[in-house]
């Protein structure tokens, strides 16, 4: 089947999509956007988090066809004009990236949190990021990064 969806502001079409395919597969293997990651494909790790019509979702749990006519924003679409999103910048600076496989999902999720809650408490950050597993960092520097991005946002 054919799927047409808007990804990072551009309308994209893919043909011969198997109806059982996920949005994640569509993005990664058909649209050349492998930023969302394939770590568990069961909604348990958050590595594939993308915005779907403005809401963060696990792309592995969205059937490709369900994205028809919707707006998808992936981690590749966060930086604007060659400038990193403040959350991306903070992740690099805070040392929140090790292997980095969880990073794209966390960056999307953290950016969503800061849009909704500009100055989150630590428990709020933890509850918001509880669906994003990281195996390398023990989360400490990820929390540092979110705090850093929030502080910079507040200072602006």
């Amino acid at each position: 089947m054919r799927v047409t969806t808007t990804v990072n502001g551009t309308e994209r079409t893919a043909d011969d999509v198997w109806p059982g395919e996920s949005l994640l597969f569509l993005l990664r293997e058909r649209l050349g956007l492998p930023g969302a990651k394939n770590a568990c494909e069961q909604g348990e790790c958050g590595s594939c988090t993308v915005y779907l019509d403005g809401e963060p979702v696990c792309a592995c749990l969205v059937a490709a066809g369900q994205a028809t006519g919707r707006e998808v924003t992936t981690v590749e679409g966060l930086a604007e004009g060659g400038r990193l999103h403040p959350v991306q910048e903070a992740f690099v600076e805070a040392g929140a990236v090790q292997c980095g496989f969880c990073t794209p999902g966390l960056v999307v999720m953290a950016s969503d949190l800061l849009e909704r809650v500009p100055e989150p408490s630590d428990p709020e950050i933890r509850e918001a990021l509880a669906g994003n597993l990281c195996r390398c960092t023990g989360y400490e520097k990820i929390l540092d990064a979110v705090r850093l991005a929030a502080a910079r946002q507040a200072a602006r």
């Binding site: 394939n38 348990e44 600076e93 090790q98 969880c102 933890r126 195996r135 990064a145």
Partner: protein
């Protein structure tokens, strides 16, 4: 220690927290992990695996699978052109099972097709006629005479004996216990993946996520029956490893399919297949006994350790070595008797995982240390301080510890950290059970626990442990640029950053490019055993030194000065008092200066097979943990409140990255203590998913303070000490001790499940 400087640092020499060169690519989604690879005209490979723990293959019929439209190849053992065997220490694993299968998940056949779903449907049509055989799934039965033989040579992989001191010691205080450790999974987030591209010369180029390109290459060549020049490996982006990528996964399979189809082949496991596609941490059954004076000073120790190696050898023998030779912790013990066994069963194969044999043993010796503290009436910190190894003393293998061994100080450091405040009962997120809303403070008891460890760094027991670095200095765009080329696998730990920092330091240049790791340069050894900063760091340092010598020689000739009077700094050649004598770019001109160095640490030695005595290790690394937990003792739910570490790293090449390693390692140890277990029943994995194999979330891992000590090891480059593994070893036992302290229960098994705490 977790504060972060807010300024961007694209530079940085050793000792500075330089930023990762791949950080921006990773936060933007552009970093190419193995599963992101894509090639025009590629097909997808999938694996058909055994559903039985033990069976004879009578017949495999692939005819129906071949008729599925879109299928380009179906392969079985008959299609393996070289030796149908691979393995890290013993080539005992079939590339594809030929006559028998020995565990659930063993690869039996391969399919390539134009879409993964096509390949899966075709794989489902392969008919394998199995004769199910009796399976050996209880490792405690493995050495019985009447146990089924997993391999013709019997079920023993290795027995490591260790005998020291009085063969028949007695002591006024004797404590003992049995302890079991469940099977842990590395659970790296990036699943096993690779892309094999057939080459015009009849060979193949393999892009794959791994920990050691050259040992992979050797095994792939053997299976393909090809020389190394025809099988070229390049490291694809690695999404974590933790030991689970030491053994082959997709490597040979993807190459076989690529060579058969003549097309690029991508293989990428899903999470369930990943649980079958790599080895796990060995489950352990242990019996320990300590004899001590009335003041708690250890007199003797006895230990019996049984590790379930599963169906194939992998690195079981080396893990047994560690469990035996390091299985009594960082303590001074005059008389010792240890027997460590690794056995074959029809369970999933076990092998390397961060901590490598020390993790299992530490749960037992640290629990027993607390028993001893209780028995003699001293606190857990004091009992460990009293018995802790010191520099100049000998380990249980008789090896002299010839660099700092600050066991007592590490314990004191964590003990001196402030304790966290009581739980905030107004916010359920800070209580055991969190938003599960199972307590508002009812039944919650606090406990504190301590543990300490000693881990060998690098490969031990006489292994030729080396790394190769090629460093090149040349002018690009008017600037001197160093490029560092090694085959060392960056798996997330930050070795690429360390390589840049060393080159900047040694060559006085700002711009350093780390060339992608591949097999066109010599082996770097494995990214494991906490060894890469030491060994590949040493190789890069040495290669930079050789380049510097050559460059200074050129400068000396040009300047008419002695090379001994010259240094490289700030992209300049400077004199002994720092005066600028020449631009480095001018000295280089159009030439490139390149040196390749194969670098070895000082040799280690095999131990005596009867007594386990010998200088087996090149270096020891030490860490101590203090865990603070709140336990809902009625429901058996645990909230770790604090998990603080003190660790001696010798020299922190990159302080932020060091702390990041310690955080991550601590979280993995905590996971094993509380929730992570591959549950295997009758040879079948019952929870091959992230729904039921539970990794700690950000609501489980507490704030972690880290005290980094830097007592240089005089034998190591820059004085570094391996960092990655110790925190994974001492954190879990500290958490378990804290839960015991909170509950008053003995808790002799990890992961500790709620029902162990409640007794239901």
């Amino acid at each position: 220690m977790t504060t972060t400087e807010a300024t961007a640092r694209q530079t940085g020499r050793i000792g500075e927290s330089a930023q990762r060169p791949d950080g921006t690519l990773k936060v933007t989604g552009e970093y190419a992990y193995a599963s992101d690879l894509w090639h025009d005209d590629m097909v997808w490979g999938v694996t058909l695996r055994s559903p039985h723990p033990s069976a004879r293959i009578r017949r495999i019929d692939v005819a129906e699978a071949l008729t599925v439209p879109g299928v380009t190849a179906v392969l079985t053992a008959d299609d393996v052109p070289g030796e149908n065997a691979y393995g890290l220490e013993h080539a005992d694993s079939p590339v594809l099972a030929a006559d028998v299968v020995r565990y659930v998940g063993e690869p039996v056949a391969l399919v390539a097709a134009d879409h993964p779903e096509t390949a899966r449907r075709a794989a489902a049509r392969i008919r394998v006629d199995y004769e199910v055989l009796p399976a050996l799934t209880d490792p405690r039965r493995a050495l019985d005479d009447d146990a089924p033989r997993v391999h013709p040579g019997g079920n023993l992989v290795r027995h490591q004996r260790l005998r020291r001191g009085d063969p028949d010691p007695t002591a006024p205080v004797v404590v003992s216990l049995d302890f079991c450790v469940g099977m842990q999974d590395q659970a790296f987030l990036g699943p096993e993946s690779g892309l094999a591209v057939p080459a015009e010369d009849g060979g193949v180029d393999l892009y794959v996520a791994t920990q050691w390109l050259h040992i992979d290459q050797r095994q792939v060549c053997l299976a393909l029956g090809m020389p190394p020049e025809k099988v070229r490996l390049t490291l694809a982006g690695v999404g974590g490893a933790f030991g689970g990528r030491e053994d082959l996964s997709v490597h040979v399979h993807a190459c076989l399919l690529a060579l058969r189809t003549g097309r690029p082949v991508k293989m990428s496991y899903g999470r369930e297949e990943s649980f079958y596609g790599h080895v796990h941490r060995h489950p352990a059954t242990m019996t320990y006994e300590f004899g001590a004076e009335r003041d708690g000073t250890l007199v003797y120790a006895r230990a019996h350790v049984l590790l379930d190696g599963g169906a194939y050898a992998s690195s079981t023998a080396a893990v047994v070595g560690n469990a035996g030779l390091l299985g009594l912790g960082p303590y001074r013990i005059p008389s010792v008797a240890v027997d460590a066994y690794g056995v074959f069963t029809n369970n999933p194969p076990c092998g390397a995982m961060r901590g490598f044999g020390c993790v299992q043993a530490a749960f037992a010796h640290e629990a027993l240390m607390d028993e001893l503290a209780d028995a003699v009436g001293v606190d857990p910190v004091e009992i460990r301080r009293r018995n802790g190894l010191r520099e100049g003393e000998r380990t249980i293998t008789g090896q002299a510890v010839d660099s700092p061994a600050p066991v007592a100080e590490l314990l004191q450091r964590v003990a001196d950290l402030p304790l966290p405040p009581p739980a905030d009962t107004a916010d359920i997120r800070s209580l055991p059970g969190a938003v599960g809303n199972t307590t508002h403070g009812e039944g919650v008891r606090r406990g504190v626990g301590y543990a300490v460890t000693m881990k060998n760094v690098g490969f031990s027991e006489g292994f030729d442990d080396y790394s190769t670095a090629r460093v090149r200095l040349q002018v690009t765009g008017g600037e001197a640029v160093a490029s560092v080329h090694t085959a060392a696998a960056e798996v997330g730990q930050g070795l690429v950053t360390v390589q840049q920092q060393i080159a900047r330091t040694e060559l006085g240049v700002e711009r350093v490019v780390v060339v992608p790791a591949d097999t066109t340069v010599g082996s770097a050894g494995s990214t494991s055993a906490s060894r890469q900063t030491y060994v590949t760091g040493g190789a890069v340092q040495a290669a930079c030194g050789a380049v510097r010598t050559a460059v200074l020689q050129r400068a000396a000739v040009a300047l008419g000065l002695s090379p001994a009077a010259l240094r490289l700094d700030g992209d300049k050649v400077v004199g002994s008092s720092g005066e600028v004598l020449a631009d480095l770019a001018e000295v280089l001109g159009g030439d490139a200066v390149e040196e390749t160095v194969e670098w070895r640490h000082r040799p280690t030695h095999a131990v005596d097979p009867e007594t386990g005595q010998g200088d087996a290790h090149v270096q020891f690394a030490f860490s101590a943990h203090r865990a603070v937990v709140d336990v809902d003792v009625e429901l058996g739910l645990v909230k770790v409140v604090a998990l603080d570490t003190a660790q001696d790293v010798g020299k922190a090449i990159n302080p932020d990255a060091v702390v990041g390693q310690i955080h991550g390692g601590s979280a993995q140890g905590m996971g094993l203590a509380l929730m992570e277990e591959v549950v295997v029943t009758d040879g079948h994995v019952r929870n091959p998913s992230f729904t039921d194999y539970l990794l700690p979330t950000v609501l489980d891992v507490p704030p972690m303070r880290v005290e980094v000590l830097e007592y240089a090891d005089p034998h190591a480059p820059y004085g570094v000490r391996g960092v990655g593994e110790p925190p994974t070893i001492s954190s879990g036992p500290a958490v378990a001790a804290a839960v015991r302290a909170a509950t008053g229960r003995p808790l002799r098994r990890v992961p500790i499940r709620p029902e162990h705490i409640t007794g239901t």
